[in-house]
């Protein structure tokens, strides 16, 4: 059941990618692709990547070397799309607020640069033990990508929590799916790339990784396609007079020229 090419393995490779293709189609139909351009491209790319890689894996005449080389190239393209999606989420969240628009840009620029350097350092220490260079290169590349994506998602969620930012429903859904999958993938690839568990457990780690992608796709489906509940009519916000009076007295004294 937990082996490669088992029913569960096929399901977990096919279902999330087909669902992403469907999601891309629905986004296009609802004209949401203009609003979430990079996510639309990402969803579409994932589907096309599966259309190419899945048959390649099944066809016996395709060599392992060819498969892993193709996979590796597609991972590089996927990483570019990942960063575009994360960057768009940052822009969507921070550009709502004049006071933080510049701060958000600086955060992703410097945070991203620092994380890329960190990921390169971590990749340099990854052990080379696999006979196919493609598998090893792929493990290290995935580990590096998820170091950067996880780090950026950590920055994004931590700063949103610190500043009490109000998320748009759909942007929150994209970030939630991406953040959830990034942290599980990071843990999984840290195990795979650094070979800390016996080879027999790698299939289970792969399946956990694939199941995580499936959950992320379901999260995206929910947040992007189910309309947000209309916010209830808020009662008038009244500030307590006692606190306000004390505060005002002290501040007015301070504000006197």
């Amino acid at each position: 059941m937990f082996q490669a090419h088992s029913f569960l393995w096929h399901y977990l490779w096919v279902a999330p990618n087909v669902l992403l293709g469907v999601l891309a189609g629905v986004l296009w139909k609802r004209k949401l692709h203009k609003e979430f351009r990079s996510f639309f491209l990402f969803a579409w790319f994932e589907f096309v990547q599966w259309l190419v890689l899945y048959p390649m894996d099944l066809l016996p005449r395709i060599s392992a070397a060819t498969f892993w080389t193709t996979y590796w190239v597609s991972e590089i393209l996927e990483s570019v799309l990942f960063f575009l999606v994360v960057s768009d989420v940052f822009v969507s969240l921070f550009s709502q607020y004049e006071a933080l628009a510049r701060f958000g840009k600086l955060l992703i620029r410097w945070g991203g640069a620092l994380l890329i350097v960190t990921a390169a350092g971590i990749a340099a220490y990854a052990p080379a033990q696999n006979r196919y260079w493609g598998i090893q290169a792929n493990n290290i590349l995935e580990e590096a990508i998820y170091v950067v994506v996880s780090g950026l998602m950590l920055l994004l969620f931590a700063s949103a929590a610190y500043f009490r930012l109000a998320w748009q429903h759909k942007v929150y859904g994209i970030a939630l799916g991406l953040g959830f999958s990034a942290c599980i993938h990071l843990a999984a690839w840290a195990i795979s790339a650094n070979r800390i568990l016996p080879g027999s457990t790698h299939n289970i780690i792969d399946l956990i990784d694939m199941a995580t992608s499936h959950v992320a796709v379901l999260i995206w489906f929910y947040y992007l396609l189910i309309p947000e509940k209309a916010p209830a009519k808020q009662p008038s916000v009244s500030l307590p007079e006692n606190n306000l009076a004390v505060w005002n007295r002290e501040l007015e004294r301070f504000l006197q020229p």
């Binding site: 607020y97 004049e98 006071a99 933080l100 701060f103 971590i122 220490y125 052990p127 580990e143 170091v147 996880s150 780090g151 998602m153 950590l154 969620f157 931590a158 949103a160 929590a161 610190y162 500043f163 009490r164 109000a166 998320w167 929150y172 939630l176 953040g179 959830f180 990034a182 942290c183 599980i184 990071l186 843990a187 840290a190 195990i191 650094n194 800390i196 916010p231 009519k233 808020q234 009662p235 008038s236 916000v237 009244s238 500030l239 307590p240 007079e241 606190n243 306000l244 009076a245 004390v246 505060w247 005002n248 007295r249 002290e250 501040l251 004294r253 301070f254 504000l255």
Partner: protein
């Protein structure tokens, strides 16, 4: 070395998950209780805060005290500054939520006042973060200079916006903030 890397990677993954859960909890809490936030605002003695952050006082103490005494006094003052800045930051966080909630109002004036309040509260929270960083550095190295003046300015501006929002939402009540 590999073990250290793996620990760092797992820590990053766990921290990301914790941040996600934190944001999800905050969203849920915000949706449940939008009213009653204003009661959480703490009164802050801004004059005492200003005295603590006054460089002239620091210079005076530096000239009068021995270096060991100065470091002790300065650390105590820095801890007090940190407490004030943290309180100001907490107030700003409350006002962000109050302002965001007021943005749903049908009155364009209230919406505009709320927007200004949120922006100024965000600026204060950002400044508070950087001031706290500098305060903690100065606690380790007491000869470092700190600058709390920008946070005072932002705090003053924010109070004006909060006062305007209070008046717009309760025109019959002579609210002073």
């Amino acid at each position: 070395m590999i073990l250290v890397i793996i620990i760092i990677l797992f820590f990053t993954a766990a921290a990301t998950m914790a941040a996600i859960v934190g944001v999800a909890t905050l969203r849920r809490l915000r949706a449940k209780r939008n009213a009653g936030h204003a009661a959480e605002i703490e009164a802050i003695d801004i004059e005492a805060f200003r005295n603590l952050a006054n460089p002239v006082e620091e210079t005076y103490l530096h000239d009068r005290l021995t270096s060991v005494e100065f470091r002790t006094v300065r650390r105590a003052r820095l801890r007090a500054v940190a407490a004030y800045v943290q309180a100001a930051g907490r107030n700003a966080a409350v006002l962000i939520v109050v302002g965001e909630s007021a943005m749903a109002s049908a009155d364009p004036q209230t919406v505009e006042a709320a927007r200004q309040l949120v922006n100024q509260a965000l600026m204060l929270r950002r400044n508070a973060f950087f001031v706290l960083l500098r305060v903690y550095v100065a606690l380790v190295w007491p000869n470092a200079r700190i600058a709390a003046i920008p946070i005072l300015d932002a705090y003053g501006e924010m109070s004006g916006s909060a006062m305007l929002l209070g008046r717009l939402q309760n025109p019959t009540v002579p609210v002073r903030l």
